[in-house]
Symmetry: C2
Subunit: 198 residues, 2 copies
């Protein structure tokens, strides 16, 4: 179970299969086949299919935290902080797209104990966004929105990128990040008086 290049290769191949077919419809034999090895050889590296899922989901969670955590912990004003957090989150979603998709959609297939652990990590991560929004509301730089609902709306929009982004598409990750940041920051920092929005 040591982290060798082979181990990482297994995660990479499995991440693509889990994303394309779903975790439940992918067998250990499928993973081995994609690596051009025999099923039993795969068990020299991993104990179970669920271990592979756990490894992929964990490295995705680690990556989100490594990129967004330091920004969230900074002393930047809320609008600057939230914009940078959005940029960092989009960077992970677009550069680790397969892992992000597995992290978002397949994590529910983890065993109970691991699913509980991962649910706690996800909640802690969402809290980084809730707190950044709450800081802006408290400072009066943001509209008085519900930080929980607003954080969920922002993260759902950003996570949706994992399902439609293509490196061959017309928009670069930086453009996608900026347009999402503009969309949400414009809403949160809109100066009153404004016209009624219907």
């Amino acid at each position: 179970m040591v982290d060798t290049p082979r181990r990482q290769q297994i995660d990479d191949v499995a991440s693509a299969l889990f994303r394309d077919r779903g975790y439940a419809a992918t067998s250990v034999r499928d993973i081995a086949h994609a690596l051009h090895i025999q099923g039993p050889s795969l068990y020299a590296h991993v104990a179970s299919k669920e271990d592979v899922l756990w490894s992929i989901v964990t490295r995705a969670a680690d990556r989100f935290n490594a990129e967004v955590g330091p920004i969230a912990a900074s002393e930047a004003p809320a609008p600057v902080k939230l914009r940078e957090m959005i940029r960092a989150h989009v960077d992970v979603v677009t550069s680790a797209q397969r892992d992000a998709a597995v992290f978002l959609h397949e994590w529910r297939f983890l065993s109970d104990d691991r699913r509980t652990q991962m649910a706690a990590r996800r909640d802690a991560y969402e809290a980084l966004f809730r707190h950044a929004i709450a800081e802006g509301v408290a400072a009066g730089t943001f509209e008085s929105v519900d930080p929980r609902l607003t954080a969920m709306a922002i993260l759902s929009a950003l996570n949706g990128i994992a399902t439609w982004y293509s490196p061959e598409g017309p928009l670069s990750p930086a453009q996608i990040a900026n347009q999402h940041a503009d969309l949400f920051l414009r809403s949160l920092t809109c100066d009153p008086p404004r016209r009624p929005s219907a």
Copy 2:
């Protein structure tokens, strides 16, 4: 295959199973078991597990179109229209939550032909939102955003509600819809001049 109460009961039970366990991990036997009937009896009503998925996904797509389509086709100004479309979409997501979750996450398990058909329906539905946004941009009532990216951001945020909404939660469907509509309409209709959003 006629639409009897039994047929609808099968869809309801299967929708819950597909949502909770995923389509691939649910067997026809599981569906029969949940209905307290034998597997073979189920085949008197449905030809295959995929037929059940198709039925659920189709009724969800029908519901979204029935609720949102007439609003999209109306002559209302873009801000009014988009707000009402958001309300209608959230109404379906919260009142047909299981079907919506299956529609959003399990449709990729359809056979190639049906998946292609459903992809076209999904695109036509997304186009209702793209067009409403483009109308507002063209009329000058909306900021000059990218209608495609903005429609995806809005729909991803609204679809995320299917994963976190609980009828026992603190917010009613109407409150959730209004807060999402406020969030996006404030961004789209924000009056210049405004302060730079960082």
